[in-house]
């Protein structure tokens, strides 16, 4: 048989066994890239000397090179640096890069440069008057950030964050460069046993596609929820509810 459709369906559950690896890559690297991105955004907004130049250099490099190249740099760079350290200090750090960790670090670094720009723009999008109003009623700067500014910035940032998250799901297919077996590598592996490469990749494509459709849907639900003030509810109804 040239194309075995039944293989496509039977392969799906087999590939799905690698879904947790893909999701771990996506979620962990997204969380850390948000934290790192926030720090970089603060460094830029506060114009902290030295750190600001470092951050600018890093953002420029990270955005100016392909993700796959960055993965290779981390994968082959770590062992080099580790063996240098071992030679100088007599330590015994591993000289083969731990694959999952390397992929997570590399994805975090490549994603954080984008998140930092999004976070900076989002904080900048909040009207200054909101902070002033919060301070003027006696809130502390911290309270104002947590209760007023960040929630407003989040509304602005959610669509770009969502796009980045979806991009990140697809990017994880590059993790094979660090010898991580996630869904794409798994599909290839499975195919190498029965040479059904095309069927395997069709299954893989279907899985990614559905995964991303679900994610987009969840994101747009979240967006609607955040933009509370753009509801379409009859006003007197809303008032009766509040009363």
């Amino acid at each position: 048989m040239i194309f075995d459709i039944s293989k496509v369906f039977s392969r799906i559950p087999a590939i799905l066994r690698y879904l947790p690896v893909t999701m771990e890559l996506v979620i962990v690297s997204t969380v850390f890239s948000l934290i790192l991105g926030f720090l970089i955004a603060v460094i830029k907004i506060r114009r902290i000397p030295v750190l600001r130049q470092l951050a600018a250099f890093y953002v420029s490099f990270s955005r100016g090179t392909p993700a796959i190249v960055q993965l290779y740099l981390f994968f082959y760079g770590f062992p080099l640096i580790f063996s240098l350290i071992n030679r100088h200090y007599g330590t015994s750090l591993p000289t083969v890069a731990p694959s999952m960790l390397t992929a997570l670090v590399a994805f975090t670094f490549s994603e954080a440069s984008y998140s930092s720009e999004t976070i900076r723009a989002a904080l900048g999008s909040v009207d200054r008057g909101q902070m002033e109003a919060a301070l003027s009623i006696g809130m502390t700067q911290r309270q104002a950030y947590l209760r007023i500014i960040l929630p407003e910035a989040l509304v602005f940032a959610l669509p770009p964050f969502g796009n980045a998250f979806i991009g990140q799901i697809k990017n994880t297919s590059l993790a094979f460069t660090c010898a991580v077996v996630e869904m794409t590598a798994g599909a290839k592996l499975l195919a190498s046993h029965d040479y059904r490469f095309f069927e395997s990749y069709v299954s893989l494509a279907i899985i990614y596609w559905i995964l991303i459709i679900i994610t987009s849907h969840l994101l747009s639900l979240a967006e609607k929820k955040l933009k509370r003030d753009e509801r379409i509810v009859p006003h007197d109804f809303a008032d009766r509810q509040a009363a």
Partner: protein, 251 residues
């Protein structure tokens, strides 16, 4: 005296905006501030609650007395939590309903329970005529309604002083009246107020004392009847004539 400001100075870079402004407000008094655009009216208000950091001067407010140059964090916190401000652009919290806007300070600053805060907020919103708009978001309200919510938000904290910075300047003409009425009622209830406005008739009507700010200093001050009716300084007369008010009195 609830508030006494001594020799308040403020520069932006090399540009000195306030060159030693002194004034005081008695309890329950309404102080009006007038002056041409750029004369530093907003800056005075914003220095009092430290939205701008003043350069020097002395502040006596309720039982506090401190020098601006050596002001501590607690002084700033005291000023902010015992004054409230109404802004020209309303500055309501965008993703909070009218009710939530008014409750916010009670919950976060006064640490009241949700029930208590809601009860007080409903009462105050009713007082500014918004009993039917509690669950509305700012973008669902007219300018006049938004400004009334902002006044309610300021009132909720029961501040010792309410500062209003041109509260009607951003409003369509047909909405100015409703907001001025609310402010008038607040004044009648005995609240101490510091109000900057271009509505000369309103200031004349509501203020106990008026400052005319010019060139970074108080050029002239007095009771509204004196300041508007019989200004002593040439530049006050010039300003009032430009503001097209003097004709109302000189005839």
């Amino acid at each position: 005296m609830i508030l006494q400001i001594d020799k308040l100075r403020k520069s932006f870079g090399s540009n000195e905006i306030l060159k030693g402004v002194s004034f005081s407000i008695g309890e329950g008094e309404v102080l009006g501030v007038i002056g041409s655009s750029g004369s530093g009216k907003s800056t005075i208000l914003r220095c009092i609650n430290y939205l701008e950091k003043p350069n020097s001067g002395r502040v006596r407010f309720a039982d506090r007395d401190f020098d601006i140059e050596t002001a501590e964090k607690q002084d700033i916190r005291y000023m902010r939590s015992h004054t409230a401000m109404v802004f020209q652009q309303f500055n309501l919290f965008k993703y909070k309903t009218a009710l939530e806007n008014v409750m916010e300070g009670l919950l976060v600053v006064r640490k009241q329970s949700k029930k208590e805060a809601e009860c007080i907020s409903r009462e105050i919103l009713a007082r500014v005529g918004l009993e039917n708009r509690m669950a509305y978001y700012p973008r669902e309200l007219s300018g006049g309604q938004q400004q009334r919510v902002a006044i309610a938000r300021a009132l909720a904290l029961d501040p010792k002083l309410i500062m209003l910075d041109e509260p009607t300047s951003a409003l369509d003409p047909e909405m100015i009246g409703e907001v001025l009425d609310v402010i008038r009622n607040v004044a009648k209830s005995g609240k101490t107020m510091l109000i900057v406005s271009h509505e000369m008739n309103f200031i004349n009507d509501i203020a106990d004392h008026v400052l005319f700010l010019d060139g970074g200093l108080i050029a002239e001050e007095g009771a509204p009847s004196a300041l508007f009716g019989n200004p002593q300084q040439e530049r006050t007369r010039l300003f009032l004539r430009r503001a097209n008010i003097i004709s109302d009195y000189s005839i």
